[in-house]
Subunit: 380 residues, 2 copies
C-alpha cells in the first residue's frame, strides 16, 4: 500500500471507526483499525464482533482538490490509539503512508513515523448483509429516536433483551422503546412506508445505538437502515455501521400502559425538572434515589430526605390538576431522565395511583411517552 491522503480526512475517518474498537479485549488484533486501499478508495474499518464501522475515502483524480492519491493498493492493521494520536499531531495537511509487509511508514513534513502493524488477514470480516428490508430516515430524526429512549435500557444482563431498544416498523410508523422494567421510554414517528413491506421488529443493543448517535450527523442527511435476521446495518454518506441484534422476545409493552387514570397534572416541564433536580441532591445516597411527590389540587410538594445530610421540601404550582390528591414516591433519576428528554414545553402526567405506573408526555403529543413505576413506601 502506498498513498498520499489529506490529514483531516484520514483523522476524521479513524475517529469515527474507533468507536468499534474495544477498550479491553484479549484479542490483540481487535485493538487495531483495518486500512485497505484499492485503486479507487481507502477503506477504513473496525469491528469488535458486536459493533462494526466502515468508512471510505474516495480517490478523485479528476478533482483539483483530490483528498487521496493511491499509488499502490494494499492493506494493514494499525493500533487504533497510536495511529489516531499520531495522525492528529502530524505537522502538515498531507500525509504519505507507505506499507511494507506489516510496517507502515507515515511521512508528513519532516516527520517520519515507522509503526508496527498487524496482519490484515487476521482481522475479522464485517458481516455480509444482503439488504433485505430497509427504510430511510433523516439523521437528526434517528438521533432523536435514540436520545429519547436509550437511557431507559437495562444495564443488567439478567434479561438480555432489556439491554436493547425495541425497534418496531409497521404500516405508517416507526417506534423505539426501551425499558429496564422500572421505567419505559417510547418515541414513535410517522413515516411513508413503501407498500409490500411487512412489519419488522428488532432488538438493537443500547450500547450500539449510543455509539451510532455519536457518529451520525445532526442534520437532514439521509440514513438507510437495513435489518436482517441477526444484524443491523445503518449507512449514510460513505459510512456503514453494523450491530448484532439481540435474540429473544421483548415484553409486550402495550400491556404495561395503564388504561385509566385517577389524576391528571399539567405543568411546565422546565419548572418541574429544576425542582426535581434540587430534591435529587439529597436523594442520591439512598438506594433508589427516592423522592416524594405530594399531589394536591392547588400545588405539588416535592421532597426528599437523607438521615445524614438533611431534607428538602419545595412546592411547584401546576398549570392545572384534576382528580384525586395522592402521594407518589419514585426514583429521582428516572424522572429527571424523562423530563430532560421531554424538554421545556408544557407536559402532562397521568397518575393511576400510589402503587401504579404514571405516564409523562408532551401536551398534545402522545408520540413521545415515558412511563415510571413508583417505589413502594412504608409509612405515609
Amino acid at each position: 500500500m502506498r498513498l498520499v491522503i489529506k490529514k483531516n480526512e484520514l483523522l476524521h475517518a479513524l475517529q469515527d471507526v474507533q468507536r468499534a474498537v474495544p477498550t479491553r479485549t484479549t484479542k490483540m488484533i481487535l485493538y487495531g483499525i483495518l486500512l485497505h486501499a484499492d485503486y479507487e478508495k481507502l477503506e477504513i474499518s473496525a469491528y469488535d464482533q458486536e459493533i462494526g464501522i466502515k468508512t471510505n475515502i474516495s480517490s478523485l483524480p479528476d478533482q483539483e482538490d483530490n483528498p487521496l492519491q493511491i499509488e499502490e493498493p494494499g492493506s494493514i492493521v494499525l493500533n487504533a490509539k497510536y495511529v489516531i494520536e499520531i495522525v492528529r499531531k502530524l505537522p502538515q495537511p498531507l500525509v504519505r503512508i507507505d506499507v511494507q509487509d506489516f510496517t507502515a511508514i507515515i511521512h508528513s513534513g519532516n516527520a517520519t513515523y515507522t509503526l508496527n502493524g498487524m496482519d490484515p488477514r487476521e482481522y475479522p470480516s464485517l458481516p455480509e448483509i444482503h439488504e433485505e428490508v430497509g427504510f430511510t430516515l433523516q439523521a437528526d430524526t434517528l438521533k432523536m429516536l435514540i436520545e429519547h429512549t436509550v437511557f431507559a435500557v437495562s444495564n443488567s444482563e439478567v434479561r438480555p433483551t432489556l439491554t436493547g431498544i425495541l425497534l418496531k416498523y409497521q404500516e405508517g410508523t416507526i417506534s423505539f422503546s426501551a425499558t429496564d422494567s422500572h421505567r419505559l421510554a417510547m418515541q414513535t414517528i410517522e413515516v411513508d412506508v413503501p407498500t409490500g413491506y411487512e412489519a419488522i421488529e428488532a432488538i438493537i443493543p443500547g450500547k450500539s445505538l449510543t455509539e451510532l448517535a455519536k457518529i451520525i450527523p445532526d442534520d437532514d442527511t439521509l440514513v438507510n437502515i437495513h435489518i436482517t435476521q441477526n444484524q443491523l446495518l445503518v449507512s449514510f454518506a460513505n459510512t456503514y455501521f453494523y450491530s448484532r441484534l439481540i435474540e429473544g422476545n421483548y415484553p409486550d409493552i402495550s400491556r404495561i400502559f395503564p388504561s385509566s387514570f385517577r389524576s391528571n397534572l399539567q405543568i411546565d416541564g422546565k419548572n418541574l425538572l429544576d425542582c426535581i433536580e434540587r430534591a435529587a441532591l439529597l436523594a442520591r445516597d439512598n438506594e433508589n434515589q427516592v423522592i416524594r411527590i405530594q399531589l394536591k389540587p392547588s400545588f405539588i410538594e416535592v421532597s426528599s430526605h437523607s438521615p445524614e445530610i438533611g431534607k428538602i421540601t419545595e412546592t411547584v404550582e401546576p398549570e392545572s390538576f384534576s382528580g384525586e390528591a395522592m402521594l407518589i414516591a419514585c426514583n429521582a433519576k428516572f424522572l429527571i431522565d424523562a423530563l430532560r428528554a421531554l424538554g421545556s414545553a408544557t407536559i402532562k402526567i397521568d397518575f393511576t395511583g400510589q402503587g401504579s405506573a404514571f405516564v409523562l408526555y408532551e401536551l398534545n403529543n402522545d408520540q413521545h411517552v415515558h412511563l415510571i413505576l413508583p417505589v413502594r413506601i412504608g409509612n405515609i
Copy 2:
C-alpha cells in the same frame, strides 16, 4: 445566625474556600465549611490544617444593592460538597439562611432545605499571623511565577523540601525555583524593595501554590504576601489564603547551573515543542519517556523508539547553532513542560555535553530559566 444573602456571592465564596477542604480525611469536621456571621459580615472559611482559605462578604446596609442582610450573628459548619451543590441549584437570586443549633434552614423561592450541620467550636482555627515581613505583587505576576515553576516540584516525599517551591526575596528581586533533582525551573522578577527589609527564603508546598493560582484573579489586583517562621499568608480583595511552609534546607541552586557550555542552539519554541510532542507519543511507554536529540550544525534530529509500537524521527531547522555536534537523550515530559512554560517566542538552549545539564531560556531574557539533566544512554 439569621441572614439573607445573594446566591451568586455566596456560591462564589463557597467555591473558593472549598479548595481547602480535603478530599479524604478521617476527621469528619474537615469536610465542612465554617460560616460565621457578625453584624458587619459573613466570614466563610475552610482549613485542612495545611491550606486554609477565608473570605468574607460584607453587609452594606447603605447600598441599594446590599449583598447581605444580617439579622442575627452566629456560626455553623456545613458539609462543603452538599452546601455548594444546593446553593448552585437554588431557584432564586436571594437566599435566606436560618441556623438553629446545628441545623441550617436554607430558603430560596419555594424551596426549603434543612441541612444537618456541625459544631463550629470543633472546627480548627486558622493560623494567627502577625504580619512580620511582606511584599506586594500583582495577581497576574504571582500567577506567572507559580505557573512557570510549580510543575517542576518533586512528587516524592523522600526529600520533602523538593515538594515545595523556594521563594527568595532579596534586594531588588523575587525568585521562585522548583526542582525534582532531574530538572529545575526558575523565574525571577524585579521588584521595588522597601529599605530595611532583610532577605527572606521560604519553601512553600507546590500543592498550596497550585490551589492559590486557581483562586487569585488573572489581572492586576494587588496581592499581599506575608511570610512567618512556618506560615505563608496571601491576601487579596476579601480573601485570605494560608499555607504551612516546609521546614528544612533547600539545595543550593546556584551550584547546579553549568558555568560553561559546549554548544548553543537558537530555535523557534513552538516548532520545537510540536516536534517534541510528536516524538513523545512513542516515548510514553518507556520508564523515563526518553527521546533523543541529535544536534548538528544544519539541523536537529529528534527521535524516539518503542519496541512494540514503532519509532519516529523528525528534523527541525534551528535559527542558529554553534559549538559541537552531540547526541542528548532526555525525558520528553521535562522538555515539554519547560517549552510550554517558555511559550512561542525564540528560545535559546545551552548544552554542556551528553551527560550534563542543559539550560533553556527565552532569547534576551534570563529571568525565566529551565534546566534539564539528560538521561544516560548506553549505546550511541
